[in-house]
Subunit: 151 residues, 12 copies
């Protein structure tokens, strides 16, 4: 596992400036810088995309195979509505980890269901920007674990 | 944050010996030893309970306030059925992180709902024994973050 | 009706110390003392159990027949999850009254359904520690009323 | 708390004469007399309305503020169908207690849901005419308890 | 069976003038006259009420016992929303037949459920003004049939 | 309207002998004889089928067009499960009336939904063998009423 | 369009005095005066009813045809429970606009469904007393627009 | 309030040319011109976007803060499927009004639920192109009203 | 109990030849032979029907009363769809036992609900051809047990 | 298969003394003695546990592997609420048979769903104490049958 | 693939004569003749069954194995109600294609669910009699494609 | 019908390279070439779009009217989530056919519902790349068939 594709979903370009009570005060630039630094210490490089377009995210995941070794994704609002991103992750075949800044299970009921989770290896939610770092660490633990038949 | 109460729910005493395809091959003794070592490196100590009894878990959480600073819990089967453990976590008021060995969102539908998640700060699921270490790391990131009003 | 079994369900050992905004500031010791005094004035004695264990509660109810004349129960979290306690109440055949400190119908939706209510004579909820005293008074009014065929 | 508005909902004018197996043998006149006597002993006076008209009940509650200090209501059939009475209770801002003669949770499923309960302080159900007296006692315990933030 | 209380629910005062495609062209006056004539031929008299007020209907049914021998009711819109009328019918204990001008099962889904049907002996729907005559005939056949335990 | 096809669904061959508390004591032979006599008085003839086979009923309805002028059907158990009979009635285009011996709305919940009702002109339920006669009368009232656009 | 019937549903007589955080501080008298003034400027007159009685509202709508040219209605609590008012609006055949002071879609789930909306031309909700004026303006735009076949 | 962002969702570029029975005969160009004229009369300027891309709409709302003072949005099909647009509106913090050309509550059931409504101040639906003008007027009334705590 | 009617539902004529992983390798001839032998040893005789026709099964059960003493039935696919067979079993009044070759609760969700179970004394499922023998043994234990009031 | 673990769930210690109309008149001591005798005749020995504690049952099943060869369980109330017992059975990997004294499909709806059934080989319900003997016989037939892939 | 069994479900014997707006004007004889001609051109022969009897269809499919190579079925009304036909198709193991004359997804909601689809290779719906020819072509493309593991 | 717009939805650019067990081994280039060749033989030309962007698909359909004569669409993941594409198809008014490579009814439950199907003439699913050719053939059969009023 050498290169990891990191995807930030819709509205995450606003991080830091808005609703800091839910999403924290760090902006995306800082989160990316911190994550790259942490990745470098772990011996992996990152390729990062923020997009508000479902189609862009689908396309980038579609091109990841052969170029990246794993996927770290915060699908944001698309968590609950995008079968297309789910299909892209399943189709690319790379190990994926889903992360969320807020604890989605403590918010509105429609945020409790993730269409993305069943095609990922695991999920980290609720730790603000730290969710990304924890998700990256989680991906790296998968280097030597195979996916189980049940999940 | 100096001392963390770690709780392993029902059937986790069997870890390592059974269903390694879902839960991995490490037994609970090794998981605990690894977690204690990691905790020591982070400057915290652990108090660990494995119990198959909902009532035991409720009681231990009830006594945690003042004795421990945070809660790391894998509620296992009680994730989906125990309002009593949920109430205990909410009543004790300590920051809590929920962890799962398997990706519960990729298993039977009844495992997709957690009664525990809404009263925790966050959740880590799907990374086998590494879920515990990631959950501990997550708890430590909360040292300087306050709980948000929404979740 | 001479002796009444009073049961306090899970987490009620914490009363007074935690979440006084929901459950009031009186602790269980004081509640029991007040209730015993009121019972004495009414000419009945009490046998009191607080347990976090569903099995303990089931067992005590199972032994109540012949020893006690009625049941006053605050099932707390088990209100919503315990078929076993429901079956125990139905099996023992004693008149039972269910009480709740908080108004369970003004809280989360999963607290609106009681598995216990259909096997009790009636329910008192929402009056803090006074719910117990009102529940006891209610039990005593049943002395001369037979259970109706419908409820 | 000096004056309490007591409301009897639809069909309660029939009490005593019909379905005594569900509702008891006391008629409304006797229930009101007993309740007034009990109120007098407690130092409060009662203003009593029986109406089969949802609109009448809404109007009387709307005029209660400033004239009465609390509300004791058996909404009968309107328990399950009247948003208007719920809104009236919420709008008047007086503490309210809901009572039922029968144990509504042991009858048909559509009687298990109360639209009224979430805007009351508490509920007493299942004790026949005694439910009124217990509900009045419950209201009086509220004299020195403030409503909690949760319910 | 000598005297039958006939009840027309809300909006039926408009019959004949509006929506003849659903409800036919006969007005209520003519329907009542025809029905009275038919009743006379069958040896029974009718007492007829049209009301848009749920409370009025509840009250009239409440007074029917002892004064009338049976109930013929077109609850119209209250079919789907009135627990109070259901309770009134059940409380009065008289045999009742429910009629509808239109076939309620071929209209909007919310009209497919009748709260009134379970407390009636039977139902006639879909035959325009003839539903009333058929309902009256149905009531008369009940003269010598007792209500079954199941329905 | 000269000839009416009468259909008795499954288990109705048992009428009279079994469960008289629900279905009455008249057997099918007598019901048919009475109905034929009544039809003759009304100037129509009957063609009668009792079948336990969904396919037989479908076929007979399929052949009714041109041969009969209307349909009187007690679909019995097939009321709740047969889309095929529904389609047959809709395809044949004849006016149809659905009848039931018992009040299906006062029995088990699965009997409250009729797949047949939306394609009939109306329904008569709950009057024992009299339901057939009332249904026949209802059909005859349709002679001069056209089907409405809504139902 | 010359005369418009304005209907205020249950509890709206309390406007201004209670819950100003939800419904604003203007009382009904002022709202009516402002609305009449605005109507006069638009060349229409108003006939105004406030009632807590479902039956009164049904009756007034039933008489509107021929007397008024359109209907402006804030059904308040009856929005969610009254099939009778829905039927009255549909029967009268006048163009109707539904208004709400609060944004009903941002309140309790049971307030998200309007039984009235499907029989109106449109809906305005969430703008406090201004909702009435906007609703009146909306009605006037309908003067030259016919109702579409779909709604 | 000086500048308002107006957003037209998917397929609205087709207005006027298609389905005039549902959406009216005015094309988008004319609607925009009329709306701009009306805005000028009210002393506000408009910034207008029509897009079929969920991502474009999300981005434009994300940039509105500081540039515009309010949001007028017809989310069209995205009303029912876009959590991303909902999150964008909530994140930008500007007062928003949702408008619909048709009465969405009189169309298919899946159009009765708006994911956008709970984060807007109010909604106007069913008045064709006039919905935009009414929505703009509604926004302007908000200039001096604060958002309530409930909705 | 001397003679037992054994019914094999649809597709069971294929036993042994198809899907042996679900239904085992014994064919129906052998199963019947083994079952008859076992019955003889228990002192009872069997009358056996395999039919793919719901109507045939209904008819045979309808004729069982007086001819047979009990019913052993594997309704196969009709378990989940036949109200007619349910009604036949209930009407015949004989004690019945339902058997299944496979564990229907470990298969597709629509197979978890049996329309037949509530009218039988009990159920045996999951033991392949042995389910028949166990079901027969179960029937014989009923010889001296009366049906309980609850089930 | 030499040794079988027999588990009796909550409230079964009361057998014989209470509700004989549902559960029969034999007490648990007699049932165990009869079952042991029958087991001995079949060449197997039994290890028997009755517990009201979910945790005890989980633990005993956890220790069964290597010690016992199969599991015969009447989970009683835990049938419907215990994911922990389900997980324990699945984890231990022994063939299991679920038994019930009453026909759970003829009782309250919440008793129709078994969380345990999908992880057992089969189920026997409704035959009183004979259910245990039939369940034991069923287990013994499994000696030479492997579990199928589907169930 | 040499011989294909073609099955026409209930009411299809009426094709051409009734409801041509839904099902087209061709009768079954012509459809069969056209289909046979097309089949001959493709080098396959057809065996054709029209039946209104679920049992007949089940039986014919049960005998298809070894006699036919594939199945082309229009289950008509049984699409939505027959588990027996589903089981027959699954048991016979032949590749099957489901066809519908009308677009079942544009009709009543109960027609949107097919019990048959999950056991077929694919489905063609909405093209009138052409659906059969397209379905046959589809079957022939399967000659060299194996069934996928997922569906 | 001379020119047909062919639309391939999200992730279909990956065809051939990934998950051949579900989607076959042909890549999109080959599928398009084969389809164009088949179209040419049928005398029609194709305009082909593959896009992962919902907005692009909406726009292209919006421009199709006047330029193309029909629509052949595999909406892939957007089948289940896009009201915008549904509205675009309905708005453009061209005959449309929906195709799927896999049998969507044999996959995850959320794939069983198509938002697109109700606005298409018909659907072909489950035949891999052949679904496109069959869908094209289906479109061509529509040349002389008008859309029915029901579907």
């Amino acid at each position: 596992m050498k290169k990891i594709l990191v995807i930030h979903g819709p509205n995450l370009q606003l991080l830091g400036a808005r609703q800091p009570d839910i999403y924290g005060t760090a902006d995306l630039k800082k989160i990316n810088a911190d994550l790259k630094k942490h990745a470098a210490e772990c011996g992996v490089t990152l390729e990062i995309l923020q997009s508000n377009h479902e189609g862009d995210i689908v396309e980038r995941i579609g091109k990841a195979k052969g170029r990246c070794d794993a996927l770290l994704i915060n699908p944001a609002a698309y968590t609950h509505t995008s079968v297309a991103i789910r299909d892209a992750i399943e189709a690319c075949g790379l190990p994926a980890v889903e992360v969320h800044l807020s604890n989605i299970y403590a918010r509105e009921p429609f945020r409790h269901q993730s269409l993305i989770a069943p095609v990922c290896r695991g999920q980290v939610s609720g730790f603000g920007p730290a969710s990304y770092r924890l998700g990256l660490d989680a991906l790296l633990t998968l280097r030597y674990n195979k996916r189980t038949s049940k999940g």
